[in-house]
């Protein structure tokens, strides 16, 4: 029942996105052209990748506020490595970025798993720590275009089968996450842990370890996004993606991922990110100030939370909810 509601919400969200595009296209037909929509998708590829990582964490009743800071740190380290050793092949750098990101995520995970500290506290702390580390390794200096190698900058700008390579990164992430969520015991453990941790323990699922791995995954995609971000915007600084964690969480919430855990789908998280993307792209076109953009995405979040809360209430039986609470 909850599942079918979620699926329904994905349809509603897709319809809302289509409506928004149609509405803008009445005045500015160029907005709805495939080339433009493709560039919106490409612009928000990094957000999609990050939202998928965040979704995995939120499913386990946790939250990762440190993703953007992790991104900034990893991006800085990768850019500095490239500046110092331009001959290191880019695929190796990407693997390195994912490894560094996963290590930072594992640090969050260990604190949550072994010390039992609430995830919001852990990641609020590491958010600051990772930003501070970025400053320490760089000494506050920027790494900009002239210090990055040509391959470093051009890889994700290249085209492959009619799409930018950056978009292919997002598509690969979507497929990988979809398979993980629906076809592996770990994906199942994520849902079970979020819906009913007690029952999961009895069923032989290690709830703490599942949370730990979720944080490793969110860290790993943050690391990947770190490389993509600095190479796309051709700058690595301590201020990169400052405050972006809120966009990531917003994409999940709008996409129907329940903050209470256990409910959420890959499709939902992707559509949530795209919804923010279409709003972000449409408002300048129809000449609305970017400040409105923030207010509108904020309203969308609140609306999504209200819809989620009502959907969940209808889905569960009240007797069971009460038993859970005691």
């Amino acid at each position: 029942m909850i599942r079918s509601l979620a699926r329904q919400r994905e349809i509603w969200l897709a319809a809302a996105i289509a409506l928004l595009i149609g509405f803008v296209a009445i005045r500015f037909p160029a907005f709805a052209r495939p080339a433009n929509l493709m560039s919106v998708f490409n612009d928000y590829s990094i957000l999609i990748i990050l939202a998928l990582g965040q979704m995995v964490v939120i499913l386990t009743r946790s939250i990762d506020l440190s993703m953007a800071a992790n991104l900034a740190f990893t991006g800085m380290v990768v850019a500095m490595t490239n500046a110092a050793f331009p001959t290191i092949p880019i695929p190796l750098l990407i693997v390195m970025a994912m490894a560094i990101g996963a290590t930072l995520g594992a640090f969050n995970g260990v604190l949550v798993w072994k010390l039992g500290i609430p995830p919001i506290v852990v990641t609020l702390g590491t958010l600051t720590v990772f930003r501070g580390m970025t400053f320490v390794v760089s000494g506050g200096a920027w790494v900009n275009a002239d210090r990055m190698s040509a391959a470093f900058i051009s890889l994700q700008r290249g085209w492959f089968l009619g799409l930018p390579v950056l978009s292919w990164f997002a598509i690969a992430a979507i497929i990988a996450f979809y398979l993980m969520m629906t076809r592996t015991p770990f994906g199942r453990a994520l849902y079970a842990t979020g819906v009913n941790p007690t029952a999961s323990v009895y069923a032989g699922i290690d709830v703490g370890r599942t949370k730990f791995l979720a944080f490793c995954i969110s860290g790993m995609v943050s690391g990947l996004a770190g490389y993509l971000w600095v190479s796309r915007y051709v700058i690595a600084s301590t201020e990169v993606a400052n405050g972006y964690e809120l966009q990531i969480i917003a994409a999940c919430v709008i996409g129907g991922v329940s903050i209470a855990g256990g409910i959420g789908t890959v499709g939902g998280a992707v559509l949530g990110a795209l919804f923010l993307g279409v709003i972000g792209a449409a408002l300048p076109v129809i000449n609305v100030s970017p400040f409105w953009q923030l207010a509108i995405s904020g309203s969308a979040i609140i609306l999504a939370v209200i819809l989620n809360a009502r959907g969940e209430k209808r889905g569960g039986r009240i007797i069971l909810k009460k038993a859970e609470a005691t």
């Binding site: 015991p185 199942r188 849902y191 029952a199």
Partner: protein, 515 residues
């Protein structure tokens, strides 16, 4: 404040042959979906008297307390205070009528001071309606001193007090709101011997103040020590009441367990083999000590005891869910030391927990995913789930249990309680266990589903599985078990062959009544 109460409600404790009850309940009935919790029960509480409410688990005591405190509404019946019929539509109404309950775990606030706890919701007001702190402290001190609890400082935070002192604060709160009827629901469960003595002094004080006290306990020595009257409940009915001084323990035990034979258990011919699971000297730092038993192949071993006797805790240790401090276990001759539920499941021991909603089903996941949850490792190949196999597994076991569901893809929370129980059992059977531990397998389900569960247990053992059944229901224990182990206060008391065993023997052993 308190002294006014003494004058208005205290009556001569002796002399009057028939005192008028302060609170009387009559013809109270209450049903929940599928279960009739109370059937036309009555109860009278007298000023200055302690009435013990006695009954097995599930007899309806807690439901009655919830009706008396306005949390549940009775389907039928009357509540009268001082002869006048009253309605208790909510907890606040009960509070206004002077009814207060002190629970096992007190429902006070750890982060407030003693005085704030005592006066929460009715603090003395002063200038501009602001709380008059000095008066509040003074009155709190007066109430505590009157109770002989002057050693408790009104400014201490509640979290710094022991459980016994928290009880004192709860009573002080009752005194400060002019409570006339005090319900104590197993107040001694978490107390040491010395603290119990202090509590009894307190109850004596409440009696002398003319309060009517309802005392709920499983422990006969306490009941005879402190109570004047008794009322016995059995299966939601009131089966006896009177003065304790004229009633023997044996008579009360008979009232508790004697019942009409309305439950039929499946006939089976046990085919019991050699020892399968051997547990010896299993101990836990706080919950149980030196527990040994043996489970044989094809056997149902019943575990009987009062709530809190440590039965579930032992079973959770056997199933790898909790750590032990010492002791060994062997399954079919091989030593096992499960460190997690996954280890125990792999070894062939599964534990089906008591609370279905919290510990059993994963609401929000479809039926087939619930069934496969503990078997995910087995149905995946190199880390990838084989969905066809998963579905087949779920179909096999839900069909075997005759589950009624439109589709295995529907959310498990849309099923009825009995069918959810079947999903939980299917889930565990799907792991192909050798030992299945059922903790209160029929608690809270209707008679029809109970019979189905019993039938099914008989089939399991006929198939060669061994079953440990933890149950507090005497008919179930006596009707299903081949042998019965009895635990009391974390220790194994006795293991009996279930031949010619009667309910009274079990209750006596579990309650620690010497014969």
């Amino acid at each position: 404040m308190m002294h006014a109460t003494v004058e208005s409600s205290a009556r001569p404790a002796s002399g009057e042959a028939r005192a008028r009850p302060l609170l009387s309940l009559s013809g109270i009935s209450k049903s929940f979906p599928g279960v009739r919790a109370l059937n036309e029960v009555s109860l009278s509480l007298y000023p200055g008297k302690v009435t013990a409410l006695i009954g097995e688990n599930g007899a309806g005591k807690s439901t009655l307390v919830k009706i008396m405190t306005g949390i549940y509404q009775p389907d039928a019946g009357e509540i009268a205070i001082d002869g006048a019929v009253v309605e208790l539509p909510g907890a606040h109404a009960a509070f206004e009528q002077g009814i207060t309950a002190i629970h096992q775990e007190t429902v006070l606030f750890d982060h407030l001071t003693v005085a704030e706890n005592i006066f929460l919701g009715h603090a003395p007001r002063g200038f501009l309606g602001l709380i008059d702190w000095s008066r509040m402290r003074r009155e709190a001190r007066e109430v505590l001193e009157a109770m002989g609890a002057g050693h408790i400082d009104p400014d201490t935070f509640l979290r710094d007090l022991g459980i016994a002192s928290k009880h004192l604060v709860a009573v002080a709160r009752a005194m400060s709101i002019d409570a006339r009827i005090v319900i104590m629901d197993e107040p001694t469960a978490a107390l040491s011997t010395k603290e119990i003595e202090e509590l009894f002094l307190l109850i004596e004080f409440l009696k002398s103040e003319g309060k009517a006290v309802l005392f709920i306990s499983h422990k006969f020595d306490e009941i005879y020590r402190i109570a004047d009257n008794y009322t016995v409940f059995r299966d939601g009915e009131m089966v006896g009441e009177g003065a304790l001084a004229q009633t023997s323990q044996d008579a009360i035990v008979r009232m508790m367990v004697g019942r009409a034979v309305d439950q039929i258990f499946p006939a089976r011919t046990p085919n019991i083999g050699g020892p399968l699971l051997t547990v010896s000297g299993l101990s836990h730092p706080t919950e149980f000590d030196n527990v040994s038993f043996e489970l044989r192949e094809g056997e149902i071993l019943g575990f009987y005891g009062l709530v809190g006797a440590g039965r579930s805790e032992v079973m959770q240790a056997v199933a790898g869910l909790t750590r032990t401090s010492s002791g060994t276990m062997a399954l079919a001759g091989e030593t096992i030391a499960p460190q997690s539920a996954a280890d125990a499941i792999a070894a062939g021991i599964v534990y089906v927990p008591e609370e279905r909603a919290r510990q059993g089903v994963v609401a929000g996941l479809p039926i087939f995913q619930n069934v496969s949850l503990p078997s995910l490792g087995r149905i995946s190949k190199s880390g990838v789930l084989r969905l066809a196999e998963e579905f087949a597994l779920a179909r096999t076991y839900t069909e075997r249990l005759d589950l009624r569901a439109a589709s295995l893809s529907q959310d498990v929370s849309t099923l009825s309680g009995g069918n959810q129980q079947k999903v939980v059992i299917a889930k565990w059977l799907a792991t192909k266990p050798r030992v299945i531990i059922l903790d209160e397998p029929t608690k809270g389900i209707d008679i029809g589903s109970k019979a189905a569960v019993h039938e099914f247990m008989a089939e399991l053992v006929a198939d060669g599985l061994s079953v440990i059944m933890v149950s507090s229901e005497l008919p179930e224990i006596l009707g299903m078990s081949d042998r019965i182990a009895i635990m009391r206060e974390g220790c194994m008391v006795a293991i009996h062959d279930n031949r010619g065993l009667d309910a009274e023997t079990l209750v006596r052993a579990a309650a620690g009544i010497g014969s």
